[in-house]
């Protein structure tokens, strides 16, 4: 068995899109993203992680972590409580300031045998990470806008859980769960989503975020929680589906529908959305999109355009990314006494 390696990929642009303007979405400061990484480094050090591979960026996150490492007194490296793992910055490749940076970093982490990959961002960042992570367990922490898939969780705790899994102290099978996935195909192009796929009548990808439900005609959800934010909240209030239930749910969205759901589709935006034809999605079953032209949004971001005559299909898959189950890891740690000393 090789080194206990954890990868961390942090999106410098999460929490910055048009929803700051059209809703009251929060700005997630870069400094806090860097602080979260530092808190994780402390947790990793405490549970025996040896190396951390960190993505690099032009947004100031990796630079802030580098400065923090430089400021640490030499003595901090020796004690068991303050030790940080060795941090390797994944530089040396072009930074494009697009989602490709996340894909490139995650692929390098997988190739370097990272045992867990932590991603900091919103649903969009988690989706991109999931597309490149293969069978390596991931842990998504929220630093974005609409956060359904990533958890809003203290980074220290997430760091302990990721570290215990990477260090092989808990059974990896018991410590991780398999997420569902939505696969959308437009001709020969394909995208995946972790939470929802929306069909929008917008013609262009534009500012990416979907914040106007009047443009949405159809919605597919891998899961729909009653306490979610974003498009999946619409079905979460109507026909909840859990993260680990085998099926998904789909519906037509129509402003004139009898059934209206008051849904929090973005931070600071609670609006009535008309819903009809709610149906279960069974794993593997192909759902054809009934629209002439428009844009497909995955996890709340417009991604694929389609034209009349193009076949658009959506399918629920059971083989999504493996995700670290933080409460399960720490419960196992309590059972096994992993964080206890002399008691």
């Amino acid at each position: 068995m090789g080194d206990a390696i954890v990868g961390i990929v942090a999106n410098p642009l999460s929490g910055r899109d048009i929803r700051r303007l059209v809703t009251q979405a929060s700005v997630f400061p870069t400094a806090e993203k860097a602080n979260m990484i530092q808190r994780m480094l402390t947790a990793f050090g405490a549970v025996g992680v040896q190396r951390v591979l960190l993505s690099t960026d032009l947004g100031g996150i990796s630079a802030a972590v580098l400065r923090a490492i430089g400021r640490r007194p030499a003595a901090a490296g020796s004690g068991p409580d303050g030790r940080w793992p060795e941090v390797e910055f994944l530089d040396g490749q072009p930074i494009r300031q697009t989602a490709q940076d996340t894909v490139d970093a995650v692929r390098r982490m997988v190739a370097a045998d990272a045992r867990v990959i932590v991603c900091l961002g919103g649903d969009g960042t988690a989706r991109v990470t999931a597309s490149a992570v293969g069978d390596v367990p991931m842990l998504a922490l929220s630093t974005g806008t609409n956060n359904v898939f990533p958890a809003v969780r203290e980074a220290t705790i997430a760091g302990l859980a990721a570290g215990l899994v990477a260090a092989g102290q808990v059974d990896q099978q018991a410590a991780t769960t398999r997420a569902k996935l939505l696969e959308v195909r437009v001709g020969d192009r394909a995208e995946t989503a972790l939470v929802d796929v929306a069909v929008s009548t917008e013609r262009h990808v534009g500012a990416r975020a979907v914040w106007d439900p009047a443009t949405v005609t159809q919605l597919f959800c891998a899961f729909a929680q009653p306490d979610a934010i974003g498009l999946s909240s619409i079905l979460g209030q109507l026909c909840p589906v859990g993260r680990h239930e085998p099926h998904g749910v789909t519906a037509r969205i129509a402003p004139d529908a009898d059934c209206q759901v008051l849904a929090p589709i973005a931070p600071g935006l609670v609006i009535p959305v008309g819903v009809r034809e709610v149906a279960r999605m069974q794993p593997g079953a192909e759902h054809r999109v009934a629209a002439g032209a428009g844009v497909i949004a995955v996890d709340g971001e417009r991604e694929l355009t389609f034209s009349p005559g193009q076949d658009v299909t959506v399918r629920l898959r059971a083989d999504g990314p493996r995700c670290v189950d933080v409460p399960a890891v720490l419960a196992a740690s309590a059972r096994l006494g992993l964080l206890r000393r002399r008691c």
Binding site: P12, L13, R16, D17, I18, R20, L21, V22, V27, P29, T30, L58, G59, G60, I61, P94, Q97, T201, E202, R203, H204, V205, G206, A207, R208, D212, A214, T215, P255, A293, T305, S307, P308
Partner: protein, 328 residues
């Protein structure tokens, strides 16, 4: 189709107009680049090529009530606001037929009849101006909105920061467009801008701040239309940060030893004109033939503008004191 979609969808005419403006800016700048090298053009020129989607995506949302203030890199903003291209070229050549009768040059092209308050040789000079026009619009109740374009260097100027504060305090219909092309002259914005994003500063002034892919016309247009609609309806100012790259040096003659291959990559992969053409073709909104026709029309326009500028007279000694003093 719902009301919202109809409100947002760009018509064929609007799409053609957007492409025509972006193509005009690109061809204008590439021609000035070539002509400047001959030594015929006096003074300095700072070219806007690469940044077209910003000027056009913002200005397409404006109407006759609105004003804009520009920068030393102002040709694109002028064209997007409808300033006459032939007069602009003559101005750059220092000719009497120019927008400012040949006495302003590239860095001072202004046309108040078009709501263009002027290119501006003073870095950070535009934001205070638009606070004035925005205040006038607010007091008169015209519904007018004012837009200041400035660069990453301009974003660090006290005038810009004071203007954002004032606009927020007075709840002005003002839009601050930070065109972050990565370098203030030769200084990297990753070094000179203390916050990690210029848009992050908006929070300190109590206004929304958004980051937009400045190479993407549709992303710019959507964000600008929301910010402008918000300002028009009394919602106050917004800061929009465009992230992109300029294709030429800071000024013509800049050796650009401070940057590497980012321009080649941007031209190949991110170019706003290529992306626009690709997207409208994909959605069948415009045909390649429509775009080719615009290209030919614009090429002829730029040729004629250069020819006309070269043939135009220079200002005379008698012109020295005209347009200098104003009686009021």
């Amino acid at each position: 189709m719902t009301e919202t979609v109809q409100r947002k969808a760009l018509s064929r005419e609007q799409l053609l107009s957007a492409y025509r403006m972006m193509r005009t800016i690109r061809d204008f700048e590439e021609r000035v680049h070539a002509e400047f090298a001959t030594g015929e053009i006096p003074g300095f020129v700072h070219l806007y090529a690469g940044e077209e989607a910003s000027a056009v995506g913002v200005c397409l949302n404006l109407d006759g009530r609105d004003t804009i203030a520009s920068t030393h890199r102002g040709h694109g903003h002028c064209i997007a606001r409808g300033v006459d291209v032939t007069e602009m070229m003559a101005e750059i050549y220092g000719r009497k037929t120019g927008s400012c009768h040949g006495k302003g040059g590239s860095m001072h092209i202004a046309d108040l009849s078009k709501g263009m308050l002027g290119a501006n040789g003073i870095v950070g000079g535009g934001p205070p101006l638009i606070c004035g026009t925005a205040l006038a619009a607010k007091i008169k109740g015209t519904g007018g909105v004012s837009v200041a374009f400035f660069g990453d260097g301009g974003s660090n100027q006290g005038t810009t920061l004071e203007s954002m504060n004032l606009a927020s305090v007075w709840d002005l219909p003002a839009i601050f467009v930070a065109e972050n092309n990565g370098y203030a002259e030769t200084t990297s914005s990753t070094w000179s801008v203390a916050s990690d994003n210029i848009a992050d500063r908006a929070a300190g002034f109590g206004m929304p701040g958004v980051i937009v892919d400045g190479f993407d016309f549709f992303a710019v247009h959507e964000a600008a239309s929301e910010a402008i609609a918000r300002a028009r309806s009394g919602g106050g100012p917004t800061l929009i940060e465009m992230k992109f790259t300029r294709y030429f040096g800071h000024f013509e003659g800049d050796q650009q030893t401070y940057r590497t291959d980012e321009v080649a990559r941007a031209r190949a992969e991110l170019d706003c004109l290529k992306r626009f053409a690709g997207r409208v073709s994909e959605t069948d909104e415009l045909a390649r033939a429509d775009l080719d026709a615009v290209d030919a029309e614009v090429a002829a326009l730029i040729d004629a503008a250069v020819e006309s500028a070269r043939a135009a007279p220079l200002p005379t000694e008698a012109d020295l004191l005209t347009d200098v003093y104003v009686r009021y």
